[in-house]
Amino acid sequence: MDNEFEPKLLAFVCNWCTYAGADLTGTSRIKYASNVKIVRFPCTGRIDFMLVLKAFANGADGVIVSGCHPNDCHYTSGNFHARRRWMLFRELLDFMGIDVRRIRFSWVSAAEGAKWADVVNSTVAAIRELGPYTDYQKAASYLAGNEDVLLNEKEVTL
């Protein structure tokens, strides 16, 4: 056993393309990194940007967001709406110094089982390089990890 850092990844995927694509990866017996937990959504349009932040706050080191290719949305336009949202969201996060390299956006269709394996593997490799995302976790955990700071806080005496 070595103590190499194993990244925790969360994948938010749409039911119609990427989830089916990930299923195909399995049925095609393609091996890929097991660091990812897949959460299925009806559509990329349903993936609230808060979910990404919640994932980081709760210990994810990286997030994958994936759905149908443009023009392939089961609901016609969900992925177009999602794309706009991600365009703004990503730039805003970058402006606030949140590490956008940890969010991987992708289009994976139901036929692209091999691509899904590739997306996961390359993201896991990239996050492994970046290390755990302690910055956000620490900011999110309110008091935990800040004990030394709290010790120095003095009661206000009048």
Binding site: M50, P70, H81, W86, F89, L92, F95, G97, F105
Partner: protein, 261 residues
């Protein structure tokens, strides 16, 4: 000033309006003055120093309700009014808009078309300070940016003055008041403060008038309006002028990005 006072008094007397939302003399800057009677209207002022965004009162039920209102609108308030009309939050026929022409003369704007024409004719007030501020932050390395915003926003104690001051924040049930699911933790802590600001700015994407009222309202002087300003820049850069003031509830099939692979 007398001109506006007299006009408001006659509108009130003729029952053309029930309430006038304008500016009164303040200690440093003009402050909001809600005039429902001729006597109250005598305190109205309106000049170049009147820059606060009074459009915020238009969507407050306890203030405007279903009244016929008149408003003294600064440049950014006019932008907010256009957006509120686009979102069907105001009735054009219940609204009398007064603005200042570049020379400082009083102008009554009848309806949306005239407001839009006035906006097109009037030069945009300078936002040089905000532009420079955004450039300064953009120039920082990501780690430093994170430190900057973490430092600023960890001071926030979640009074939501930024929300209260915003004409576009009119939801009767805001995301931070929803607890199923509890998206944003209710206590004031660094990450949840950041998440609140991210939510605020994302929900204002393409709708924000860039008036800076959020930052001006912050009792701690946190630069939350810089986040809003950055979002205005991003939207303009990515999508140009959004049609009908819509950036996120619409799309173009050929929207261009470079990060989805």
């Amino acid at each position: 000033m007398i001109e506006l006072q007299n006009r408001v008094k006659s509108l009130l007397a003729d029952k053309e309006i029930d309430l006038f939302i304008g500016y009164g003399q303040g200690t440093r800057l003009p402050r909001p003055l809600l005039a429902g009677t001729a006597e109250e209207a005598s305190g109205l002022v309106f000049d170049g120093a009147c820059t606060g965004n009074l459009a915020v009162y238009l969507t407050r039920k306890e203030v405007a309700g279903s009244k016929k209102v008149g408003i003294a609108a600064s440049y950014f308030a006019l932008r907010s009014i256009v957006q509120l009309l686009a979102e069907h939050q105001l009735r054009e026929e219940r609204l009398r808009v007064f603005a200042l022409a570049p020379g400082g003369t009083l102008k009554e704007l009848a309806g949306l078309a005239e407001v839009e024409r006035h906006l097109a004719e009037t030069p945009v007030p300078s936002l040089q300070v905000e532009d420079d501020w955004v450039k300064e932050i953009d120039a920082m390395p990501p780690k430093e940016r994170w430190g900057y915003w973490l430092g600023e926003l960890s001071k926030c104690f979640k009074c939501y003055a930024c929300r209260a001051a915003c004409p576009m924040c009119y939801c009767t049930k805001c995301i931070v008041e929803v607890n199923r699911p509890q998206w944003v933790q209710p206590w004031a802590a660094a990450a949840s403060n950041m998440e609140w600001q991210i939510n605020r700015v994302m929900h204002l994407a393409g709708r924000c008038s860039d008036c800076g009222a959020c930052g001006a309202a912050c009792p701690l002087g946190l630069p939350v309006h810089i986040l809003s300003h950055k979002m205005v820049e991003i939207v303009a850069q990515r999508f140009g002028t959004p049609e009908g003031g819509n950036a996120l509830s619409t799309f173009k099939p050929d929207d261009k990005e470079n990060f989805i692979g």
